[in-house]
């Protein structure tokens, strides 16, 4: 057979060019398929982005930090209310030494606001070393006088030594200490006070004689944390499950639309084969078409899935201290981990494109198997 050669494979660029033309002319169909990919990948990406904003796991997002702060403040507040019952008609003293952290400042602000409330207002909130509207300025020697509770704040342990002086005027009163070393010091002197600290670590409760150490609040706190982790775990499992389902639906959508496209193009495929196209080329054509659709859809989906959660979290963000809206854009857009967001976006696009190529395997093989004689059929 001296006069027969072997048909050469065409460069990919030719297939890309023809596939692009195909998409352009069937733009309506392509857009429907693309929008399916957009939805699937937007969902995937929004889960990634949500994790970056409010995740509590390995990566801690801005929302997660805010949530933690909220929990801290709530815990301190609950210590206050457990000790005092209602703050109404009570006197509360605040002593600040060193720098306040955010949670302490928020607690102070809330107490200050509480004094302006009609029903729940304490009789007086005195403060040493802290000036906020609603708080009464006090002297160190006066701050504990007739007070039901003394709150010791700040990162300095300096007050520990002056502790006895501070609590001189107090009888059967509670001290909420937000800085642990102070408690340790107080435990030394057998003062007749109940003391509680908030901390991530076990909470020390000093009662009356100072002999009794309990890990009451520590245990409770750990129980709460474990429950939260379990809930988060089951929520994550559900999310992953829904994500897999949605990606499968996307794949089936692409496969379906490509199968229709193949059926519609029987004659065109047959004609190309008559003109000398190899089955490999036809297969490439559909794989590339799907990859292009997948890439475009994933890219758009990635943008939607990244921006939408960021906007929604920004809009709904409330300042932890004041509860006011509006500061969210700065917080969310300012604190989100951009390198990780970029990595998540890239992987979403890669996943979407690969899924689209996977979805095209069956339709592409179906098209490649088409016999050239199909071109002669005038009824398809």
């Amino acid at each position: 057979m001296e006069n027969i050669g072997t048909q050469v494979r065409l460069p990919i660029s030719t297939a890309v060019q023809i596939a692009l033309q195909g998409i352009k002319i069937r733009l309506g169909r392509a857009l429907v398929t693309i929008s399916g990919v957009v939805l699937g990948i937007a969902f995937l990406m929004s889960v990634f982005t949500g994790e970056l904003i409010s995740g509590t796991g390995y990566i801690k997002g801005a929302m997660a930090q805010r949530e933690e702060l909220n929990n801290t403040v709530k815990m301190m507040e609950s210590f206050v209310s457990q000790a005092l019952g209602s703050p109404k008609d009570k006197i509360i003293g605040i002593v600040v030494a060193g720098e306040l952290d955010q949670s302490e400042l928020i607690l102070a602000k809330r107490l200050a606001r509480l004094t302006q409330d009609q029903k729940q207002a304490p009789k007086e909130v005195r403060a040493v070393g802290l000036s906020l509207p609603g708080l009464t300025r006090a002297d160190v020697r006066e701050v504990g006088k007739d007070a039901s509770m003394l709150i010791v704040m700040g990162n300095s342990g300096a007050l520990a030594t002056a502790f006895e002086a501070l609590t001189a005027g107090m009888e059967q009163v509670y001290v909420l200490d937000t800085y642990k070393p102070v408690v340790m010091a107080a435990a030394e002197g057998a003062h007749d006070v109940k003391m509680r600290t908030y901390a991530g670590a076990p909470v020390v409760v000093v009662e009356h004689s100072g002999q009794k150490y309990e890990q009451l609040y520590g245990d409770q706190q750990q129980e709460v944390l474990r429950e939260q982790a379990e809930k988060a775990e089951s929520a994550r499992f559900r999310t992953v499950w829904v994500m897999i389902i949605s990606l499968l639906v996307t794949i089936i959508g692409i496969t379906n639309s490509l199968l229709m496209s193949v059926t519609e193009r029987f004659k065109e495929i047959g004609t190309m084969k008559c003109l000398g196209a190899l089955s490999v080329f036809i297969r490439q054509l559909f794989l590339i078409e799907s990859a292009l659709i997948g890439f475009t859809g994933s890219f758009l989906g990635m943008l939607v899935g990244a921006l939408l959660p960021m906007l929604m979290y920004s809009i709904s963000y409330r300042d932890p201290a004041t509860g006011a809206l509006g500061a969210g854009f700065g917080v969310i857009f300012g604190t989100i981990n951009y390198p990780l967001l970029l990595a998540a976006g890239l992987s979403a696009v890669v996943v979407g494109t690969l899924l689209a190529i996977m979805a095209a395997i069956y339709p592409a093989n179906f098209a490649a198997r088409m016999v050239p004689a199909m071109a002669l059929r005038s009824n398809v």
Partner: protein
């Protein structure tokens, strides 16, 4: 049955000074071709032993009622399918021996296909349509463009090169399709009812073009057709019935036949 059967001598006389029959210059030879289609348990015998030699440069028409095996025979001699039994030689090559890559090569360079519904790729311009077989043959796009323009000029459409098929009349589209079929200078043009979707006048133009191409390019033209005008211009007419070559006649003989029927 009044249709006269052409003897080998008569065929030779048709090609006096043309093809050298003594050395068997056949562009296609079909020897006892059989084709069986299996659909589940039932077998359909589309061809029951068809033998035909087609000369280089011949203008051949294939006739036959639907279900006669005409389309199957047409596919076999065009390299669009392999016979279940028997041999088909295209340019002395037994197509049953070819692997898919060689078959694609053969379809790309040896045979030009022309379809009833034109089958132009709608998304491509006329020029791109004509360039496509050359792309499959590995011709660089500049060379392909030049050659495509030449062929489009040959069919009289050089000024419509950048139009899309949908912007053209049926006759123009079929001429683009013919240009596309000629792209890799094939030895054979295989046309399936090329005038069936055209009106009388444009159909005649296409027939005229075929005759001209036969003269200028020496290309073998094989058509499946019922178009009387087309049959009249052909050198031989092959009648297929019940999966076999029933008879081979000249157009003159067919005239008598038609005369009798009417």
């Amino acid at each position: 049955m009044q249709g006269m059967v052409v003897t080998k001598d008569q065929v030779e006389s048709l090609f006096a000074g043309g093809a050298d029959l003594s050395q068997g210059d056949y562009v296609i030879r079909a020897v006892d071709v059989r084709k069986i289609y299996r659909m589940g348990d039932t077998e359909t015998h589309a061809l029951r032993g068809a033998t035909l030699d087609i000369l280089r440069g011949e203008y051949l028409s294939i006739m036959g009622p639907s279900g006669s095996g005409k389309t199957t025979f047409f596919n076999m001699i065009g390299g669009l399918g392999k016979p279940s039994a028997g041999k088909v030689y295209i340019d002395q090559v037994d197509i049953a021996q070819l692997d898919p890559y060689e078959l694609a090569w053969l379809r790309c360079r040896k045979v030009g296909y022309i379809f009833q519904a034109f089958n132009l790729i709608q998304v491509m311009s006329c020029l791109e349509n004509v360039m496509l077989p050359m792309a499959f043959a590995g011709v660089t796009s500049e060379d392909a463009r030049d050659k495509a323009m030449e062929i489009l000029a040959e069919v009289g459409l050089e000024d419509r090169a950048l139009h899309k098929p949908s912007e053209m009349s049926g006759g123009q589209q079929q001429r683009v399709a013919i240009a596309r079929a000629l792209a890799n200078s094939p030895a054979i043009l295989l046309a399936d009812e090329p005038t069936a979707n055209l009106d009388l006048r444009t159909g005649e133009e296409i027939i005229e073009l075929f005759s001209r191409l036969k003269e200028t390019r020496g290309v073998t033209i094989i058509t499946a057709t019922h178009d009387l005008k087309m049959l009249k211009r052909s050198d031989r007419i092959v009648w297929i019935e019940d999966g076999r070559i029933d008879r081979v006649t000249t157009p003159e003989a067919m005239n008598i036949e038609v005369g009798e029927v009417h």
